[in-house]
C-alpha cells in the first residue's frame, strides 16, 4: 500500500509531538479511559453579546477573576440537546422571561449544574450571584458602566430589564439554581461549592465551614452585607430581599414571584419546577 506520511494532522504540525508525548508533556488532554465521550463541545462562547462581564472581586479570603454571565437563563439549543443526550435528560424550554426569551426549567439542582458543566459553563456561587445583582443595579442606576462580552457598554434600560427579570415582585415565578450545597457535619455547618464533573458525578472543589455572623434565620436582609460565601450578615427593614438561611442537605437558589424575591439557602436539591432554571457563566479569558 502506498501511504504518504503527512507533516500535519488536523492542520497542526506533527513535528515534536513524539518528543512531547514521550516526555509526558502533551499539550492536548487524552481522553479518559472510563468516561464516555462528551458529545458536546463548546470551547468558546460564540455569542459574547449575550453575556455580561462581571468584574472580578475579592471578598475577604475569597476572590475571583472576571466572569462572563449570561443575560438570560439558559435556553434550549442544539448544544443543550447534545448535553441532554450525554446526561440522559431531555431539556425543554418550560418558561420564558418577560421579554419572551424562553428558558429551560423543570431541572433539579444537580441536573442544572451538570448541564452548565457539560456545556463548558459554570453556575454562579451565591457570592458571585449577589455581585452580579449589585453590578446590574449599579449599572441601571448609572453608577457604573456595565459591558457585554464584546466590551460594548450595555444601555441602562437593558440592565434594568435584566435586573427586574431576576428580582421583580411579579408573576410568573422565576428562579435559578446557584452553586452551593450546605450540610451539617458533626455539628459544624459547611458549604461545598465550585462543583465540577467527574464522569457523570458532581464533585465539589470547595468545601469550607460557614463563616460566622450571617443571618441565621429566615428574614428580610440587606444583600449588600453578604459575606464571602454570599450569606447576608444584616437584616433589613426594607423588604427587598428575603433570605432563607442554610439547612442541612439543602442547596442555594434565587427565586422571585409576586410575593417577594428570595435568596434561598434551604432548598431541596431534588425540586424542579417549570420556572426554575439556571444561568450560564464562564471565566472570562
Amino acid at each position: 500500500m502506498k501511504i504518504t506520511l503527512p507533516k500535519h494532522f488536523l492542520g497542526k504540525s506533527v513535528v515534536g509531538t513524539l518528543e512531547r508525548v514521550l516526555a509526558g508533556t502533551p499539550t492536548s488532554t487524552p481522553t479518559s479511559s472510563t468516561t464516555p465521550p462528551s458529545i458536546v463541545t463548546t470551547p468558546t462562547i460564540t455569542d459574547p453579546q449575550n453575556y455580561i462581564i462581571l468584574p472580578g472581586a475579592t471578598h475577604g479570603k475569597y476572590s475571583y477573576g472576571d466572569i462572563l454571565v449570561a443575560k438570560h437563563r439558559l435556553g434550549k439549543s442544539t448544544l443543550t440537546e447534545l448535553a441532554g443526550q450525554q446526561l440522559g435528560v431531555v431539556f425543554e424550554n418550560t418558561s420564558q422571561e418577560k421579554d419572551n426569551t424562553p428558558y429551560i426549567g423543570n431541572i433539579n439542582w444537580q441536573t442544572a449544574l451538570k448541564l452548565n458543566l457539560t456545556l463548558g459553563n459554570c453556575t454562579l456561587r451565591p457570592r458571585q450571584f449577589i455581585d452580579f445583582l449589585l453590578h446590574l443595579r449599579k449599572g441601571a442606576d448609572n453608577k457604573t458602566s456595565v459591558h457585554d462580552g464584546r466590551g460594548t457598554k450595555i444601555v441602562k434600560a437593558e440592565l434594568k430589564n435584566i435586573y427586574q427579570e431576576i428580582v421583580e415582585e411579579r408573576d410568573p415565578y422565576r428562579a435559578e439554581w446557584l452553586d452551593a450545597h450546605f450540610r451539617n457535619t458533626l455539628g459544624e455547618f459547611r458549604t461545598t461549592t465550585a462543583h465540577v464533573l467527574n464522569g457523570t458525578d458532581l464533585v465539589a472543589q470547595g468545601d469550607e465551614p460557614l463563616l460566622t455572623g450571617y443571618v441565621m434565620e429566615d428574614a428580610y436582609v440587606d444583600i449588600a452585607s453578604a459575606n464571602a460565601q454570599g450569606l447576608p450578615t444584616n437584616k433589613s427593614r426594607k423588604q427587598e430581599f428575603y433570605f432563607w438561611h442554610p439547612h442541612n442537605g439543602k442547596v442555594a437558589r434565587f427565586d422571585a414571584d409576586s410575593v417577594r424575591a428570595v435568596l434561598s439557602c434551604g432548598r431541596n436539591p431534588s425540586y424542579a419546577l417549570a420556572g426554575l432554571g439556571v444561568r450560564a457563566a464562564r471565566e472570562k479569558k
Binding site: 500500500m1 502506498k2 501511504i3 504518504t4 506520511l5 503527512p6 500535519h8 494532522f9 488536523l10 492542520g11 497542526k12 504540525s13 506533527v14 513535528v15 509531538t17 513524539l18 512531547r20 508525548v21 514521550l22 502533551p26 499539550t27 492536548s28 488532554t29 487524552p30 481522553t31 479511559s33 468516561t35 464516555p36 465521550p37 462528551s38 458529545i39 458536546v40 463541545t41 442544539t78 440537546e81 447534545l82 441532554g84 443526550q85 450525554q86 446526561l87 440522559g88 435528560v89 431531555v90 464522569g199 457523570t200
Partner: protein, 400 residues
C-alpha cells in the same frame, strides 16, 4: 448546458463555501457514488437527477420505474434485447460491451419489482447479470441516481427495499430537508409554470471529460488523515463497555451501560467497510468540487477533517447506523441532526487525541515502534495501535 433545477439552499458549508444540492450531486457523480434522492412528490428530485444527466450527454439513460416493467423491457431499453439469441458467453460479453451508457437515472425506483430493481442496481454498478453471470457494461464508468418517496422507515432491516437501498446506494439525501429557498421558487414560478419535469439541452461536452476527471480522482492518493478518520468510524465507533457493538448485534443499544446510553456509544453504530470507502470517496469528491470553486490545496489539507465529517453525515444518515429510538426521542426524528451530534463528539475525540496520533505518525517515520506511544491509545482509540503497527511495517518495507 441548461439546468432547470434551482435550489440555493446550503446543504453544508465546506472550507467556507456554501455547498448546494447540485454540488452534492456532482460530487457523487465525480466519486462514482450511487445516489438515492428521497423526498416528497414534487420536491424537485427528478429534475435534479435529469439535470445531472447533462454531464453525460447521450451516454445517460432515464428509466421511469413502473410496477409492470419486467427485465425484458429493461433490457430492450439498454439495447440488450438480443441477449436471448446469444449462443455463447463471448457473444453475451460482446452484447454487454455495447451497452453504451455511463449514467442511469431511475425515477420512482421503489415502483419497480425486485427483479428489475436488482438489475438496475447492477447497471449502476457497471454490470448486467444474465443467467447468474455478471457481464461488465460500458467503459469502466457507470453510476446511478434513483429517486423515490418511501418515507422514513425504509432503512429498517425488516424492509427488503430498505436493505437493497442500503446495500447498493452509496449516498442518500432527503430532499425535503433541503427544499429550495423562497427566492428560488419565486424565480421558478415567475419563469415557468410547466409542472412537468423538463429535459435541459444536451451538453456538447463529451461524457469522457467528466469520466476522465472521475478516474483521475479515483487514482489520487488518499491522505492518511482521512484513512485514520475512516478507521475511527469503522473501529473507534465500534467500541463500548461490552467490547464491540457489532458483536452485541440486536442487544445494542439496550444492553449498554447507563452512562453510554446518552452518548454517541448508544446513538450510532460503526460504519461498514463499504460505507467507509464511500465516505472517503465522497470527501475526495467534495474537496475536488471545492478546488473547482477556487479553494486552495493548503486550505483543503488543513481542514479535510470537515469534508470527511460532511461525507460521513450524508453516507450514514440513511444507512441504518443510527439508533432510531434515540433519533426520535432526542432529535425529533431528524437523522441529520443526530449525526451532527456524532460529528461534534468525533471532533472532540480527535482534538483530544491529535497529539498522540501525531506522535504515532512521527514514530512511524522513525521506523521504531514505541510501546509508550502505543499505550496512549485506549478504549475506542485502541484501533490506532494496530494501525500504527501496520504503518510502521509498511514504512520499513517501502524505505530504501
Amino acid at each position: 448546458m441548461t439546468k432547470m433545477y434551482q435550489n440555493s439552499t446550503e446543504i453544508m458549508q465546506l472550507y467556507g463555501l456554501p455547498i448546494s444540492m447540485q454540488d452534492m450531486v456532482d460530487a457523487c457523480l465525480l466519486g462514482r457514488l450511487n445516489l438515492f434522492l428521497q423526498g416528497d412528490t414534487g420536491s424537485g428530485k427528478t429534475q435534479l437527477a435529469k439535470d445531472a444527466m447533462q454531464n453525460f450527454g447521450d451516454k445517460s439513460l432515464f428509466v421511469l420505474g413502473r410496477n409492470d416493467m419486467d427485465t425484458r423491457e429493461l433490457f430492450q431499453q439498454i439495447n440488450l434485447d438480443k441477449w436471448r439469441t446469444a449462443a455463447s458467453t463471448n457473444e453475451l460479453r460482446e452484447l454487454s460491451d455495447k451497452v453504451n451508457y455511463n449514467m442511469f437515472v431511475v425515477d420512482e425506483l421503489p415502483n419497480c419489482v425486485p427483479a428489475v430493481r436488482a438489475q438496475l442496481f447492477n447497471l449502476f454498478d457497471g454490470f448486467i447479470e444474465i443467467n447468474g453471470k455478471a457481464y461488465p457494461i460500458g467503459n469502466g464508468y457507470s453510476v446511478g441516481i434513483a429517486t423515490g418517496n418511501i418515507g422514513q422507515q425504509f432503512t429498517e432491516s425488516t424492509n427488503e427495499l430498505g436493505r437493497a437501498l442500503k446495500d447498493r446506494m452509496h449516498v442518500t439525501i432527503d430532499t425535503d430537508y433541503f427544499f429550495p429557498q423562497p427566492g428560488d421558487t419565486l424565480e421558478i414560478l415567475a419563469t415557468n409554470t410547466n409542472p412537468r419535469v423538463e429535459f435541459g439541452t444536451v451538453s456538447d461536452t463529451p461524457a469522457t471529460q467528466f469520466i476522465d476527471r472521475s478516474h483521475a480522482l479515483a487514482k489520487k492518493e488518499v491522505p492518511l488523515e482521512k484513512i485514520i478518520i475512516a478507521n475511527y468510524l469503522l473501529h473507534g465507533l465500534d467500541h463500548c463497555s461490552k467490547g464491540s457493538k457489532r458483536q452485541m448485534k440486536h442487544q445494542w443499544p439496550t444492553q449498554l451501560e447507563n452512562h453510554e446510553q446518552g452518548s454517541d456509544v448508544g446513538l450510532v453504530l460503526p460504519v461498514s467497510l463499504r460505507a467507509a470507502k464511500s465516505i472517503i470517496r465522497l470527501s475526495q469528491s467534495l474537496d475536488e468540487i471545492a478546488r473547482g470553486k477556487g479553494i486552495e490545496n493548503g486550505v483543503i489539507e488543513k481542514e479535510q477533517f470537515n469534508s470527511m465529517m460532511e461525507a460521513y453525515k450524508f453516507v450514514s444518515a440513511y444507512s441504518g447506523v443510527l439508533n432510531p429510538a434515540a433519533v426520535d426521542n432526542v432529535y425529533g426524528g431528524d437523522k441529520y441532526k443526530a449525526l451532527d451530534a456524532v460529528r461534534m463528539a468525533t471532533r472532540t475525540q480527535f482534538d483530544q487525541q491529535w497529539e498522540n496520533v501525531s506522535a504515532g505518525i512521527e514514530m512511524v517515520q522513525s521506523g521504531k515502534m514505541n510501546s509508550r506511544v502505543l499505550d496512549t491509545f485506549k478504549d475506542r482509540w485502541t484501533f490506532m495501535r494496530n494501525t500504527l503497527e501496520r504503518l510502521t511495517k509498511n514504512y520499513e518495507n517501502n524505505t530504501p
